[in-house]
């Protein structure tokens, strides 16, 4: 088994095919989208491939250490940040092909006009613990 992170971006991914902001959909289209996402996660739980899924608020803060005895420096949020993560799903699957297949399904979630969004999702493998047998 191998773990993969499916990343969804607010910004930074190539434009999706059906690229209409959500507040321009109809309320029914939004409901259909939410339902699709919930069903997708539920199906992965049933197949034993779901690990975790979380959504992130769009606004964050940059923080760094500023030396002994000083509070950390904070900055942001930066409006010009190129890459902004919206959320993720962690899956534990047999391999890369399955991860790509599932990301493809997730990207087919319906959007404006009830048509698939075709949004770009980023698939990233986890670095794992080393195997016991290496020769």
């Amino acid at each position: 088994m191998a773990k993969y992170l499916l990343l969804k971006h607010y910004r930074g991914a190539p434009a999706s095919v059906n690229n209409v902001p959500m507040d321009r959909w109809t309320p029914e289209e939004i409901s259909a989208h939410v339902q699709y996402m919930n069903d997708f996660a539920a199906r992965l739980e049933e197949t034993g491939e779901f690990v975790d899924g979380q959504a992130l608020a769009p606004e964050g803060t940059w923080v760094r250490y500023d030396g002994e005895g000083r509070p950390p420096v904070t900055d942001g949020p930066f409006a010009e940040t190129k890459d902004l993560i919206a959320g993720w799903m962690v899956i534990d699957v047999d391999g890369y092909e399955r991860a790509v297949e599932l990301a493809g399904e997730l990207s087919a979630a319906p959007g404006a006009g009830g048509r698939p969004i075709h949004e770009w999702l980023e698939v990233r493998p986890f670095l794992t613990a080393p195997p016991t047998i290496t020769e």
Partner: protein, 381 residues
Amino acid sequence: MNEVLLRSLTPNVLAILVRRGADFAAAEDAVQDALVEAVRVWPADPPRDPKGWLVTVAWRRFLDTTRADAARRRREDLVDEEPAPGPAPAVDDTLQLYFLCAHPSLTPSSAVALTLRAVGGLTTRQIAQAYLVPEATMAQRISRAKRTVSGVRFDQPGDVATVLRVLYLVFNEGYSGDVDLAAEAIRLTRRLAAAIDHPEVAGLLALMLLHHARRAARTAPDGSLVPLAEQDRGRWDTTLIAEGVEILQAALARDRLGEFQAQAAIAALHADAPTAEETDWVQIVEWYDELARLTDSPVVRLNRAVAVGEADGPRAGLAALAALDASLPRYAAVAAYLHERDGDLATAARLYAEAAQKAPNLTERDHLTRQAARLNTHRHR
């Protein structure tokens, strides 16, 4: 076997062990072990005296553990002091346990976890599931909390207000899992109300009952949020409402108003309205004024602006809103609502979309996005 009945015995049993001289942390571990044992043994072999059984098993477990420890001399003193077996004393030390678990030296998350385990009798696993953290994390949080209060004397009176804040947190931030945290919070608050005569305890209990009464109507079958005005009031639980109102009236009659009683009074006025249109918003504004005097909370002033908008019209609501800090959570959502009522749909749609961006949870975000979408759909047709 009734798990809730079993859990309801937890605080008594724990208090008895502590009174016999066990330190709180060890006693609490022993009681957890006894509860696990009870779940295993009772279905086939139910005891005649459940509480006595738990005390005996927990005490034995405590002694075994102490025996294994280095503190040998202390253990022998305890064995000498062990009271003769017999029915457990009926005195309720539950109150002291509430105070200890909500001690001001604990962080809110620690106090919540400790209260659910030591007073509520939940297992670490159940609490971890409810708050969506790994079991090991929750176990560590609880054991650190126990260490923090280890020096606190069990017989010192505590502050009811800290206990109420903890119970409010359990009720209001109940997430998921097998355990219904809202129901658990109500159970614990009921028990507290039985142990101490205090109008704010009654106020909090009434507040919880009145909100719990609306639970079935609060979400649509697809999980989306149904705002108060659109809820099917036929689905509100009238038994809970009647109980909440009765408890609240008795508390208010004592003329020692506090924030929970005031909040409950607002919930009671909503419960009292057969339809959203018949809501007595003028009285609700008055209660928000009381609440603002009691708490000076900006969140209260924000909710008050909504009520003013209903009582005196959206322009008055917007004027009340203008006096507040725009960075308040849900400010944009309130502004959007008031602008919509005022007929400015373009501004309302823009503000709903902005509010969705700032929403603190997914349910609210989806709801606010739908509101923006609803207005945009109308405007572009």
